[in-house]
Symmetry: C2
Subunit: 414 residues, 2 copies
């Protein structure tokens, strides 16, 4: 098997892609833009060298199907789109490793593997342009909120349906993409970690337990604007003070219950140096792999906010911005992923995924799913300095290929 | 004396002014705009009925001089300009009370009082358009920073010198206005309190001890942006957390040393819900009447910020936005102000002024100065709901007139 797989080629192809679609500020493969169309054309050329059927589905996802003896399908997924000024690996590592695995399976089984193997390049995973991630995979899983999506606009005021039309996608039909999952028996996704956990442990690879559930809220404290010079301290209704006092408490909840909590933005009104803050709005993002603990994170924060508001003579209101349930991956596939990693580099580690991935949507649609993470240098992503050691890139292609083979065997036995 | 003074007329004139220059959102007398020019024309008409010499000085301040037996001058000041959507009393109460006092003195002394009495309507006290308050009075006191002022632009990009030129003021000569203070022996200013102190004490009037010194800084915490889902809590460099933790401490300093501290704005970068805050900038405004205690407020906050930054694995930098020394008023005049108030309504209270006033600039130029405050309803200002009971408006005109008479006597004896 190892002679048919060439992980160095994957690294070379990723560099070729970087030269074609990046600039000094990073990757520029924003979905539904000309650069993304160019990226897809480049990918298609690679795929056309293989005995695969290629088509774009109703949501713009690009599928390459290597027909096998059984219609049962092993899906391997990723996304070629990037955020603006993005990293060179985020999403496309997954796809290009998939291309290499298709080559290996096709060669090994003379074009006819025991099960059908399909590579999917999901459309607009990042949501960079319209502010809504997982577009293609959520259309495919059937969970895309059509009314919400119809109203999305980019910064130039262009509506999502119009942008889709430009690239030949009929918005009203995007959920027809769901039929692609008909025979799906397993879904695998490789990704850079985008965090520092494997780096801290000095491990190249990890098996992903699932994606965190997310509670995302805007919390607004309402006080009273008052002159900063003439208003005694004991007469103030200071919205910022309430928010400031609550913040360390919110972080302490993550120590208590696990998971992560982030206050990502804070805005103040009137927001001038000479006035007590009348309105302070913070955004809170809470994540946990355990549904019950996620609920605790949320309710503990919510209950405490009332007290912090009262202490500052202010009031508080909460607005849910977004919510998603934790999406635990398939136990069998997690075990196979672990095994593949150990066979490749001796030691594995199981970790949750903080960021969402298309895999969460596929799992949500009921397809047994697992992800593999490869270490990120600096623990950073969505940034031109995002990087992974070349030896780790090669290891991940090898381990991910082992996982694909094990998954095929596992699928047959089910 | 009381028969010659008509405080009800002052209230009527203030209402007339409100009808002329206000709308549903409040007063609209922003300096150097057509509405301000209209306001000045209205004021001039009132003044022309008196035996006063009227002229506009090099900085656009409008002076009305009632020549007396001595060249020693008693100055009474205020400002007709307002913030946009401002209150109906802020600044113009002072001027209109001064007009009424000129009428009384002129009538009582048959146009020739023992000392010269001058009313000044300072230009652009609020600084609403160019972001720099006390323009006219700081030009007159000689403390206007010419280089800074030359570079000021309004939101439409119009430069201050050009806006001044529109209303006939030559920017390069504004400090010639300083000669107006040549014979000044006392400066009196009446103002609404713009705070809740007199309201809380249920007192109509108070004698002002001086204006707070101000330390105004931007404090920026520098952390590291990181994905809100993939970054474990112990790996974060959270700039917002550092700022949040420091804020209650800063407020506690005011409890310890007196004075007031305000964090008026907070901005976060990248400021998105899915990222740890990399940069958090807050503005801090600290005020105290005592120079040494103001320094303590500042240095205690600065020292502590280093520790809060370190606790969050962040760094901190300070930038001074503005600074002004406390400006204590003249002890004799404070005593006379107190006396005038007690004679008018039985009980007085001494309090510092949190907001700055033109009086601070005049005191800074070495002219013995005092201010009188009248109670603000709601303790609010710079707002259409700013208000003062009519009976208190009448009382303040009466008490302020008494103070003017006492000041004239005091000046003669010096």
């Amino acid at each position: 098997m190892s002679k048919l797989l060439n992980p160095k080629r994957t690294v070379a192809e990723l560099k070729e892609l970087r030269a074609l679609t990046g600039d000094d500020n990073g990757a520029q493969r924003v979905a539904f833009t000309p650069m993304w169309v160019k990226t897809r054309a480049w990918l298609r050329k690679k795929l056309e060298a293989l005995p695969v059927e290629i088509h774009t589905d109703a949501a713009g996802n690009l599928w390459s199907t290597l027909r096998g003896e059984s219609e049962k399908s092993l899906l391997i997924g990723g996304h070629m789109d990037s955020v603006p000024n993005g990293g060179w690996l985020d999403g496309c590592l997954n796809v290009m490793a998939g291309v290499e695995i298709l080559r290996r399976i096709s060669a090994q089984y003379s074009g006819k593997p025991p099960v059908t193997v399909r590579l999917v390049d999901w459309a607009d995973e990042e949501g960079a342009r319209f502010g809504k991630s997982l577009f293609g995979s959520s259309a495919c899983s059937g969970n895309l909120d059509m009314d919400e999506a119809r109203g999305l606009k980019d910064k130039d005021g262009i509506r999502l349906p119009d942008a889709l039309n430009e690239v030949g996608i009929n918005f009203d039909r995007v959920k027809d993409s769901g039929k692609e999952l008909k025979n799906a028996a397993a879904y695998l996704e490789l990704h850079i970690e985008q965090g520092p956990v494997l780096l801290d442990l000095d491990l190249p690879l990890g098996a992903v337990l699932g994606t965190f559930g997310v509670e995302r809220h805007a919390i607004t404290f309402h006080g009273q604007a008052a002159h900063s010079g003439s208003t005694p301290m004991n007469r103030r209704k200071d919205a910022f003070l309430a928010a400031a006092k609550m913040s360390p408490f919110i972080y302490s909840l993550a120590e208590q219950h696990g998971g992560v909590c982030t206050i990502g933005s804070c805005t103040t009104k009137p927001g001038i140096v000479t006035s007590v803050v009348e309105e302070c709005r913070i955004t809170l993002d809470q994540r946990h792999l355990d549904k019950a603990k996620l609920e605790r994170l949320y309710w503990d924060a919510r209950d405490a906010s009332e007290q912090f508001a009262e202490d500052a003579n202010a009031e508080v209101s909460w607005e849910r911005l977004w919510q998603i349930a934790p999406r635990p991956f398939n136990d069998d596939l997690i075990a196979l992923c672990d095994e593949s990693i150990r066979e490749t580099c001796g030691k594995s580690h199981r970790l949750p995924s903080g960021p969402l991935h298309d895999a969460a949507e596929v799992a949500r649609a009921g397809v047994p799913t697992v992800m593999m993470f490869v270490q990120s240098l600096h623990g950073l992503s969505h940034n031109k300095i995002e990087d992974t050691k070349e030896e780790h890139l090669e290891l991940c292609v090898t381990a991910f290929d082992k996982l694909a083979e094990k998954a095929m065997t596992w699928m047959k036995s089910r």
